[in-house]
């Protein structure tokens, strides 16, 4: 087992690690992939890790996280409790489940499934061996340089993760649930790399969960590349429920071809420091992308959503809708950046960020930012930060609803604008439950999981005191 014990994270450490393990890392690479890796490590050597002098990182300091010290593994651990990884799947939700433990693919049966309809799904490491041409065509082409070293570092060290390929004209019959569990007895730094290709006229629903089962500190640098072909449809759900000692840098890159359609949902329920880099590039005209985000944070949790939408071609539509409720000492950052390039006429781009602060120690920074080089556009952005509306509160109280319940109802209604957008009914039901529990302070990480997820026999409901009405 190769590990670097509890060292703090520095650029030198990773450059050194790469030098020493080059042979291992590039073992199954084609010449092109090896080249991509070399380029990436050079980029990382130039950029290093971001610090607060960078505009996009000026409110998120990683110093504390870095100094905790982490182990780094270049091979998966041998004993894997598959049961543990899969206990999180959603009841009644008929999905194809694939799992990752500490960034490594784990499987009940085969590492790479090839379904009858041509869908390939499984371990990226395995796919690199088996389908080098396919991987070569897409790997590293969607993830551009996000301006910080994390993506380059991930590309250089990419070993395992999930690979999903939906061929042209194939509609994935059921949602794919990708569960990424972090569970280790020591502090761990992990990097996984996911590559998802949705062909022309194809469709895929992907539910991507990040969970942790204990309170051990972890640092994840996860990069996901998603390519959506012409007229392809991608429904993407990202659920984050991690412990308070975890740091997650999640970078998801979308590339949309002609008339492709994307719906992406980010639901952040818990996590020490969550950083979501969401980057959408319209690579051809007529694309459509809707990004929704909901974050419910308390204690000293920190969530930082950075959305970048690149309107490089005409006639594309995008929207960003992010909402958050911040309690105790939580902090939320929203940075929406829409770039409309010179030739991207008839662009329609909307941004919205709404926040509720419940305490005087919670903090919000919002920067809905538009950069436009073309006059034939419709762009708007809005941002509000405030507290629960007193008039609505009065309305409910007047009808005999207790203060606490009324507050819950209003908060839930606030969050529901995002939850209601979820297209898979079972998933929506589950998220609704989780949001309710989260707002009641019951939901922490899965270790204390008391979820008796709503079933027709035992629905989760608010306790409205009817005697006072």
């Amino acid at each position: 087992m190769q590990s670097e014990h509890k060292e703090i994270i520095t650029k030198e450490r990773f450059l050194d690690l790469f030098e020493k393990n080059r042979a291992l890392l590039t073992k199954n690479d084609t010449a092109l992939l090896a080249g991509t890796r070399e380029k990436a490590i050079a980029t990382f050597a130039r950029l290093g890790f971001p610090d607060t002098s960078l505009e996009t990182w000026n409110l998120t300091s990683l110093e504390e996280s870095f100094n905790r010290g982490y182990d780094y593994y270049l091979r998966p651990s041998e004993e894997v409790d598959v049961q543990k990884v899969f206990r999180c799947n959603i009841p009644h939700l008929d999905t194809a489940v694939i799992g990752q433990l500490n960034g490594w693919y784990v499987s009940k049966d085969v590492p790479l499934m090839e379904l009858g309809n041509g869908i390939i799904m499984g371990s990226l490491a395995e796919a690199r061996k088996k389908y080098p041409q396919l991987i070569e065509k897409y790997f590293g082409t969607v993830a551009d340089d996000a301006g910080d070293g994390f993506t380059a570092l991930n590309t250089a060290f990419a070993q395992d993760g999930v690979f999903i390929y939906v061929p042209d004209n194939v509609k994935s019959p059921k949602p794919v649930q990708l569960i990424n569990v972090i569970h280790h007895d020591e502090n761990i730094f992990l990097q996984s790399r996911n590559l998802i290709v949705v062909g022309a006229n194809a469709k895929l629903s992907l539910v991507h969960c990040d969970d942790s089962y204990n309170h051990q500190a972890s640092f994840s640098n996860i990069v996901t590349e998603i390519h959506v072909g012409e007229h392809g449809v991608m429904d993407h759900y990202k659920l984050q429920n991690l412990n308070n000692n975890s740091t997650l840098i999640s970078s998801v890159f979308f590339r949309l071809e002609d008339s492709a359609s994307l719906e992406s949902h980010y639901i952040s329920l818990n996590g020490g420091l969550l950083r979501n880099n969401i980057r959408v590039r319209f690579n051809a005209p007529h694309g459509r992308a809707n990004i929704y985000g909901l974050y419910l944070m308390d204690r000293k949790q920190h969530v930082d959503n950075q959305v970048f939408i690149d309107h490089a071609y005409p006639d594309c539509t995008s929207s960003e809708t992010f909402k958050g409720i911040l309690d105790e000492n939580a902090r939320a950052i929203f940075n929406g950046h829409v770039l409309v390039r010179r030739d991207a006429v008839k662009t329609d781009a909307r941004q919205s960020n709404k926040n509720i602060l419940l305490t005087d120690t919670a903090r919000v920074n919002s920067k809905p930012f538009l950069e436009i080089y073309n006059d034939d556009v419709k762009c708007s952005h809005g941002s509000t930060t405030g507290q629960i509306d007193q008039e609505s509160m009065f309305y409910l109280r007047q009808r005999g609803i207790g203060e606490e319940t009324a507050r819950m109802l209003l908060m839930f209604a606030f969050a529901d604008e995002i939850v209601t957008r979820i297209d898979i009914p079972q998933l929506r039901q589950r998220i609704e439950d989780m949001v309710k529990k989260r707002l009641q302070g019951e939901l922490q990480i899965c270790e204390q999981c008391v979820l008796h997820c709503s079933t027709p026999e035992h629905p989760v409901e608010f306790q409205i005191d009817l005697s006072k009405i």
Partner: protein, 485 residues
């Protein structure tokens, strides 16, 4: 109203920068370049007390340690500070005691700009406007000083204030914008030559509009002026600022500081019509305008309101801000920024809410045409103690033409639960429906755009004092002339 609109439309057709003339005045210059010697020279020229020289040198030494900021969405060709003349003054023959003694060339210059320095003429009107006229590095004449002094108001050039009211200058200069604030503020603090000083004593409502008119005349010079306005408890003043420069092929530097202090219950309204030479159609020449403007609402219930119409300058870098320190204090920012041809503007505001129940409003209207880039950059910061604070921001951008850029960078930071911050913005072009409607009624394309743009900017223009509003409307039309093909 209609005839006025027609007049504006007429003006549109004439177009071009009409203040681009040069006056032939006998001018004396400081040696080219910047060093401690330059600062000694300026200070000696102005016969300043020791504390001023000390302040300048400290600022200069600090400036040497700084580098030019790069964060703005601006493409600035490097500035060679050793090629600039930091002090240029029309030669004085002797001390002036009345208007008759002002150089007739200077008077003619200001008359040509539409600024009358003749008090008699103005007195015929209902309410006059007191003007401090600044040409290059010095103030040449301040009108109505005597009338104002009857109310206890001090309105004079900064140099005079240094001589006659050193205590006030010492107390307030640098208290809102310290020399360490930013690169251009440090530069200004080191080499500033003149500007206006205004002090409104307790309980006085200034009976007339005060204004400063800045004019760059000499070639190769930079203008570095500094304005300081202090409004004591319960005082009120409305202040206006205008500026023009000759048409030249090289870029000229203008780095100014404006500081406003508003005590309890005081109210200050500051209006600017910025019309520095914007450069020609190919982006040649024009003024580099780097300005630090900031006001502090020191006492409770105080108010500072900024209104700006930005049409000139090759590069504008300007963020008039309010520090809302006093409880219940109010900050306002109304802006219209127009860029055409190759102009670049990065402008906006900062509202720092520190006191309880503070309120701020931001209305910003950006208009970009030609190949220009126009950015709004604004910060709203509600600190932890600023409970029950309120902000409303609206920043709209209008794009005219396919090669221009409009950008908005709103920064919103809220650190308490009882405050409400709202921000909204839209970006669009003039709708084809609106244009069609006008054209159908026989209004030419260009005139229609003038009309629509004026309507779009009306929300801000109505905040301007009468004297300025008319001029600003004309300016809007002229600046956009030829922008639509």
């Amino acid at each position: 109203m209609e005839s006025q609109a027609n007049k504006i439309l007429d003006e549109v057709t004439q177009g071009d920068y009409k203040y681009g003339f040069v006056t032939d005045i006998d001018t004396e210059f400081a040696p080219v370049g910047l060093s401690e010697d330059t600062i000694h020279y300026i200070s000696a020229k102005k016969n300043e007390p020791a504390f001023m020289l000390e302040f300048r040198l400290k600022a200069y030494r600090h400036w040497l340690t700084m580098s030019q900021p790069k964060w703005a969405h601006l493409n600035i060709s490097p500035i060679n500070f050793q090629e600039i003349i930091f002090y240029a003054a029309p030669k004085k023959k002797k001390e002036l005691s009345s208007l008759d003694e002002v150089d007739p060339e200077l008077l003619a210059t200001f008359n040509k700009l539409g600024i009358s320095l003749d008090e008699q003429k103005k007195l015929a009107g209902v309410a006059g406007v007191a003007v401090d006229a600044v040409i290059d590095s010095v103030s040449v004449k301040t009108t109505f000083s005597e009338t104002l002094s009857k109310h206890g108001i001090i309105f004079c050039s900064f140099s005079e204030a240094v001589q006659n009211h050193p205590d006030l200058v010492k107390q307030y200069m640098g208290s809102v914008v310290p020399y360490t604030d930013n690169y251009f503020a440090a530069l200004n603090s080191a080499v500033f030559s003149d500007g206006s000083f205004c002090y409104i004593p307790k309980g006085v409502r200034c009976p007339m509009e005060l204004s400063t008119y800045f004019r760059i005349n000499a070639a190769n010079t930079g203008q570095f002026e500094r304005t300081l306005i202090v409004a004591e408890e319960g005082a009120y003043v409305s202040y206006m600022e205008g500026c023009t420069a000759p048409q030249r092929d090289e870029n000229q530097l203008h780095a100014a500081i404006v500081e406003i202090v508003a005590m309890k219950d005081a109210s200050v309204k500051y209006s600017t019509v910025q019309n520095w030479y914007p450069g020609d159609k190919n982006g040649l020449g024009g003024i580099y305008n780097f300005v630090t403007k900031r006001g502090i609402c020191k006492g409770s219930n105080s108010k500072i309101s900024w209104t700006q119409v930005e049409t000139g300058s090759a590069i504008t870098w300007k963020y008039p801000s309010c520090i809302l320190l006093g409880d219940h204090s109010v900050g306002e920012f109304y802006s219209v920024a127009v860029t055409n041809n190759h102009q670049q503007a990065d402008t906006g505001t900062k509202m720092m809410h520190l006191g309880k129940n503070t309120r701020s409003t931001i209305i910003s209207k950006g208009i970009s045409a030609g190949q220009s880039n126009n950015s709004y950059r604004g910060l709203v910061r509600i600190s932890k103690n600023a409970v029950n604070s309120r902000n409303y921001s609206q920043c709209d951008s209008l794009l005219l033409g396919a090669r221009c850029g409009a950008h908005t960078y709103p920064y919103i930071q809220v650190d308490n639960k009882s405050s409400i911050v709202e921000h909204e913005a839209t970006t669009s072009k003039i709708s084809e429906d609106q244009l069609f409607y006008c054209q159908q009624r026989g209004i030419s394309n260009e005139s229609a755009i003038g009309l629509i743009v004026n309507g779009y900017a009306k929300e801000v223009l109505k905040q301007l004092p009468m004297e300025f509003a008319v001029e600003a409307q004309k300016l809007l039309s002229i600046s956009l002339e030829g922008s639509v093909g």
